[in-house]
Amino acid sequence: MRVEGEREFAAPRQTVWEVLNDPSRLAKTMPGVQSFDVQDERHWRANLKIPLGPGGLKMSVDFEKGEERELEYAELHAKGNGVGAIMNMDTAFHLSDAGSGTRMKWEADVHILGPIASMGQRVIQPIVNQQVSSVLAALDAQVQEASAAEA
C-alpha cells in the first residue's frame, strides 16, 4: 500500500534535516519502540510493538538509509520481521523551503506479508494511518525541541 502526504515545520531545513538524520531523535518519533540500536551511521535496528491484535505485534525492524541529497531528499528503507508478519517499507522525504519554515513531502510504499497481511486487511490501513499521524506529530515535537536547543 502506498501512503503519502505533506507537512510543514516551523523550523529551517537544516534543523529538520538533522532530526531526520539523528537516530536517537528518530527513535523517539516511533510509537511502541522498546529498544533502538545504532549499528553504524546508515544502519539501525528497532524492536517495536505495533498495536495490532491482543498483546500487540512485536516486530524487529532493520533500517537502512538510502539515497540522499543533503537538505533536499532522503530515503529510508525498513524491513521488519515478527511472528506472522513481514513488513517492508520504502520511505522518501523531499524537503523544501516554506517561508521561514520547511515543507516536507513524503511517500511510503508499505508491504505487509504473512498471515497478518491476509487476516488483518480490514484493520491494517487504519493502523498505518494512525501510526503515520503519530510519527509526524512526534517528528514535529522533535523538530521544535531541536529548534529550541539551537536557540
Binding site: V83, I86, L113
Partner: protein, 826 residues
C-alpha cells in the same frame, strides 16, 4: 432470516408409475450413518501411533521470492523436536513430479517443498516434526528463511506480457499450455447471422468448495520392506501413487493408501502428493510415524483452489428468430503457481462444449498460465462449471440485449429430447435427457407464471425482484484419453474401477471397493446392487469401509471424483456380483446334482427353481468351498471370491480434430432462482429456489437428494460470497472462515427440488454420475441479479461471484459494466 425448508417429501416426479424392481431405487437406511452419527467414524486424525511425531510446515510469507538459505538449527535445539526437512534435502532425495503438459508447462519443476524459490504465499518451504502439534508449530517459527523478494504475478491476463515476472525460469514462460479448438464453421455462422453480439470480458472467480475435514495423513515407514503406509484422506490414491512413486524413486507397490471415513472431498484432496511425499521422507528420515493435519487457514491459503478463468472477446452469431449459431471466445485460465493436475482443465471443459444447446460453430482459444497464487486442483464441477457458466451467461446476455425471452431462447436452442443420443460438435455423445422438461418443472416450482405479480409486490416493499435460470450438465465417467489431446505423448486413456465380492465361510457377503468415499454413501448403494443380484437383503451385505491398497481392489484410476461412482464403481460391483452369483449357482448345482441353470438365488438361499424346498443357505455354500471341500470335482472352477474391473466403452479421441467421446454420461440440472435486491445497498436475498436434476436411474433417491442440496449450497456460496481474492502483493485476502463465508443453514433459501429419470443407455444400471451439478446454481443467481437490476440501467453481471458490494457497484455505475457489449446487425 430466510425460512429453510427441506424438499417436498415427494419431489416432482416425472415417472410416478415406474415399476420398482428391487432394492435399487429405494431409500434404504444408509449403512454409514450409525457410526458417523454416534461419533464412531474413523478419520485419519483419529489414527495414532506410539511415539509418533507431528508435522508442521514452514510456509512462505512471500508470493514470489528467491530462497537464499534455510536455517533449522534453532528449531532443532528445542526439546521435543524430532527433526526437520528442507527443500535442499527434497531436491536430493526426490525427482520433480512428472508434468502432464507439453512444454512450456512440462518444464516447470514441482517438488514436495520449495526448492530455491517460493512461488505463492503459504508454499511449504520446510517442515518440522515434534512431539506435539503445538510444539511443532512453535518450533517452525524458529526456522530462519532468508528470502530475496521478487515482484509477484497476480493477474493471469498479463502473464504473457513482456514485463511480467517469470515464475519458472526453466520453462521460460508463464504459459502452461495453449491451443485452439475449432469445430464447425464459425466464420460461416457469422456471415449467416442476423446479429453478432460481442462481449468484451467475463470472469469466473477463484473459489473452492470447503470440506469439513482438512487434509492430512499419518505415515509409517517399514524399514524391513521399504514400504510406506499412509492413513489419509486422499480421494484419488490411484493417481496419487502415480505421481508419488516415480518422484520418490520407488515402485508403486511401496505406497499403501488406507482411508476409512473422509469429511468431504470435492477435489481438494486429489493433489495432496507434495505434502504426502514430505511426510514419507520425514517418516523414513526419523524412523518414526509422523502425522500432518492441515490447519484451516493453511487449507484456504495453500491447499487447492478452483480454476479462475477469464473469458475475453466473446462473439455470438444469432439469427433474428433467436437461434444461436455458435460462439467464439478467448479463455485465459489461472492455475496458480504449479500445474499439478493441470493442464487437464484445458480439455475437461470440452466434455460439455456446447452446454445444453444445439449451436455447432464453436471456437475456443485456450491459454492456461501460472500465477503467484495457490495451485488449483479439480473442484466440484471442475473446468466444466466455468465453461457452462460462460454458455449460460452468453444465453442471458444475448437474450437481454436482443429483447428475447430467456426461457423461450433456452427452449428453442436446447438439444431436444428426441435428438438423444446427441453428438456434439466435438464428438461427445450426450446419452439422454429432456432439458426443456426440467426447465418447465423448475419454473413451476418457483411459481414462474405469477412472477410479474411478485415483482410488483417486491417493488411495493422497495425491493427489486429478479429471476434467473441456470441449465448445466454434469459429465461423468471420464475418458482419460482426452489428456492425449493436450499431450499426445501421455499414455492415459479410458477409465476403470474395481470391486471384489466374496462369500465367506459363515455365509458373509463381503464387498471391497476401489473407490474412496467421502460421504457419498458407497457402502449403502453397493449393498443395494449386490442384494438385488444375490437375492438377499442389503443388511446381509458387508461393504468394507473406505479404501486399502492391500485389498487389491484398485486400478489406475481408482478414486472418487468426476461423477462416476454410479457408473464405474457400481459397474464394478455389478460385474463382480454377477461373477459370484454364477459361481454360487455352479457350486450349488454340483452339490444338488443339477445344472447351474436350474438354480436361483433368493431369500439368502441357492435353491432349485423347480422345487424351492431343495435349497442351500449361502452359509452352506461358503462353508463347503472354504472349509469342507473334499470330494468336490477337481475341475470345479469356483473361488467364491470374485474381482471385476469395469471398463467403460471408450475409444481414443481423434487428436488432430480434438474430437471424440470424452465422457460416458451427462446428467443435467436446471436451477431457477428468485432474488430480491435492496437498490440502496446492493444487499440481496434468495427468496425462492428450485433445483431439478436428471441423473438417469437413481439407485438411492435420498442420497441423490443430499447431493443436490450440497451442490446447490456450494453453488450459492460461490455465487454470493465465496471468493479467493489476492492483493497486489499476492496475499490471499480470505484465508479462513472469518472472511470466507460458506453458506450455513440460515443462508439457504427455501429449496425445492424436482427430478426426472432419463435412463442412460450406456451404463450397467442406467444411472449417471451426478455429484457435480452445482454450476447451474452459480449462473441462476447471476442471471437473477441481472434481471433484478434491469430497470436500473441494465447492468451486465460479468463476474461469477457477486457479493453485496459488487451489486452495489453495478447499481451505482451500470454503464461501466455495459461498456464491453457491442451488437452488430444486418
Amino acid at each position: 432470516m430466510t425460512e429453510t425448508t427441506v424438499a417436498p417429501p415427494k419431489p416432482v416426479v416425472a415417472e410416478p408409475d415406474k415399476p420398482q424392481k428391487g432394492w435399487a431405487g429405494q431409500n434404504v437406511p444408509r449403512k454409514e450413518d450409525k457410526r458417523l452419527l454416534q461419533g464412531a467414524g474413523v478419520f485419519f486424525d483419529d489414527v495414532k501411533r506410539h511415539g509418533m511425531g507431528y508435522v508442521h510446515f514452514v510456509r512462505s510469507p512471500y508470493a514470489h521470492a528467491r530462497i537464499r538459505s534455510v536455517d533449522v538449527s534453532k528449531a532443532l535445539e528445542l526439546d521435543g523436536v524430532y527433526g526437520t526437512l528442507t527443500g535442499d534435502e527434497v531436491a536430493i532425495l526426490t525427482d520433480p513430479f512428472f508434468e502432464l503438459s507439453v512444454p512450456p508447462g512440462a518444464d516447470m519443476k514441482d517438488y514436495a517443498l520449495a526448492v530455491g524459490k517460493a512461488r505463492f504465499v503459504g508454499e511449504p518451504v520446510a517442515a518440522v516434526v515434534a512431539a506435539t502439534r503445538d510444539l511443532a508449530r512453535d518450533a517452525a517459527e524458529l526456522v530462519e528463511v532468508d528470502y530475496d523478494p521478487l515482484p509477484p504475478l497476480v493477474d493471469a491476463r498479463v502473464a504473457e506480457d513482456g514485463g511480467a515476472p517469470i515464475l519458472h525460469e526453466e520453462a521460460g514462460s508463464n504459459v502452461v499450455w495453449e491451443g485452439t479448438f475449432d469445430w464447425g464453421d464459425f466464420e460461416g455462422a457469422v456471415a449467416e447471422a442476423d446479429h453478432v453480439v460481442k462481449i468484451k470480458e467475463l470472469h469466473f472467480d477463484r473459489f473452492s468448495s470447503t470440506p469439513l475435514e482438512c487434509s492430512g495423513c499419518l505415515v509409517e515407514y517399514n524399514r524391513g520392506t521399504g514400504q510406506w503406509t499412509m492413513y489419509c484422506n486422499h480421494q484419488m490414491p490411484g493417481v496419487g501413487a502415480i505421481w508419488m512413486a516415480p518422484a520418490m524413486r520407488v515402485g508403486i507397490d511401496k505406497l499403501r493408501f488406507v482411508t476409512q471415513d473422509i469429511g468431504g472431498g470435492f477435489g481438494n484432496k486429489i493433489c495432496l502428493h507434495p505434502y504426502f511425499v514430505a511426510c514419507c521422507l520425514l517418516a523414513r528420515k526419523l524412523n518414526r510415524a509422523v502425522q500432518w493435519t492441515e490447519w484451516r487457514t493453511d487449507q484456504h491459503t495453500a491447499n487447492a483452489h478452483g480454476n479462475e478463468r477469464w473469458f475475453q472477446e466473446i462473439e455470438v452469431p444469432v439469427n433474428a428468430d433467436g437461434t444461436m449459431l455458435g460462439f467464439k471466445v478467448k479463455a485465459v485460465d489461472d492455475c496458480g503457481a504449479f500445474p499439478r493436475y493441470e493442464p487437464l482443465g484445458c480439455i475437461i471443459w470440452a466434455q460439455v462444449t456446447p452446454g445444453c444447446y444445439r449451436w455447432r460453430n464453436i471456437r475456443v482459444d485456450f491459454t492456461q498460465v501460472v500465477t503467484n497464487k495457490s495451485p488449483v486442483s479439480p473442484n466440484r464441477g471442475y473446468s466444466r462449471m466455468q465453461h457452462l457458466w460462460l454458455t449460460e451467461r452468453i444465453i442471458d446476455i444475448v437474450a437481454a440485449e436482443l429483447g428475447l425471452d430467456p426461457v423461450q431462447v433456452r427452449k428453442q436452442n436446447y438439444v431436444k429430447h428426441e435428438e438423444f443420443p446427441y453428438e456434439t460438435p466435438n464428438g461427445c455423445i450426450y446419452d439422454s435427457g429432456d432439458y426443456a422438461r426440467c426447465l418447465d418443472i423448475a419454473l413451476d416450482l418457483i411459481g414462474y407464471p405469477s412472477l410479474e405479480e411478485k415483482r410488483v409486490d417486491a417493488e411495493s416493499r422497495g425491493k427489486l425482484l429478479g429471476v434467473g435460470i441456470g441449465s448445466t450438465l454434469d459429465s461423468g465417467t471420464n475418458n482419460f484419453g482426452q489428456s492425449m489431446i493436450l499431450n499426445p505423448e501421455l499414455q492415459f486413456s479410458g477409465n476403470n474401477e474395481v470391486a471384489t465380492v466374496k462369500l465367506d465361510i459363515f455365509g458373509e457377503i463381503v464387498v471391497t471397493l476401489g473407490t474412496v468415499p467421502q460421504g457419498q454413501g458407497h457402502e449403502t448403494t453397493a449393498a443395494q446392487v449386490v442384494a438385488d443380484i444375490l437375492g438377499c437383503s442389503p443388511d446381509d451385505v458387508h461393504v468394507r469401509a473406505g479404501h486399502d491398497t492391500y485389498w487389491n481392489s484398485h486400478a489406475g484410476f481408482s478414486g472418487t471424483y468426476a461423477s462416476q461412482f454410479a457408473v464405474t464403481g457400481l459397474g464394478a460391483v455389478k460385474g463382480a456380483t454377477d461373477m459370484l452369483a454364477g459361481e454360487m449357482k455352479k457350486l450349488a448345482s454340483v452339490v444338488l446334482g443339477c445344472t447351474p441353470d436350474d438354480i436361483e438365488l433368493a431369500g439368502g438361499m441357492a435353491r432349485m427353481k423347480a422345487n424351492p424346498e431343495v435349497a442351500l443357505p449361502f452359509m452352506a455354500l461358503g462353508a463347503i468351498l472354504n472349509a469342507n471341500n473334499a470330494g468336490l470335482p477337481q475341475d470345479l472352477d469356483v473361488t467364491l471370491n470374485c474381482r471385476y474391473v469395469y471398463r467403460p466403452p471408450f475409444e481414443k479421441p481423434d487428436l488432430e480434430r480434438k474430437y471424440g467421446n470424452l465422457t460416458l454420461t451427462y446428467a443435467s440440472q436446471v436451477h431457477a432462482c428468485v432474488v430480491e435486491v435492496d437498490p440502496d445497498t446492493g444487499v440481496y436475498e434468495l427468496v425462492d429456489y428450485a433445483a431439478v436434476d436428471d441423473c438417469g436411474n437413481r439407485i438411492h433417491p435420498q442420497i441423490v437428494e443430499g447431493q443436490v442440496h450440497g451442490a446447490t449450497a456450494q453453488a450459492i456460496g460461490a455465487a454470493t460470497h465465496e471468493t479467493f481474492p489476492y492483493d497486489e502483493d499476492g496475499n490471499l485476502l480470505t484465508p479462513n472462515f472469518y472472511d470466507y463465508h460458506v453458506p450455513h443453514a440460515l443462508d439457504m433459501p427455501p429449496l425445492k427440488t424436482g427430478f426426472i429419470e432419463s435412463e442412460s443407455p450406456f451404463t450397467p444400471l442406467g444411472a449417471k454420475g451426478m455429484g457435480e451439478g452445482g454450476g447451474a446454481g452459480i449462473h441462476a443467481v447471476c442471471a437473477a441479479l441481472q434481471d433484478a437490476l434491469r430497470t436500473r440501467g441494465s447492468p451486465i453481471v460479468t463476474d461469477s461471484c457477486n457479493p453485496y458490494h459488487r451489486v452495489w457497484s453495478l447499481l451505482q455505475d451500470p454503464a461501466a459494466s455495459r461498456a464491453g457489449i457491442e451488437i452488430s446487425s444486418r
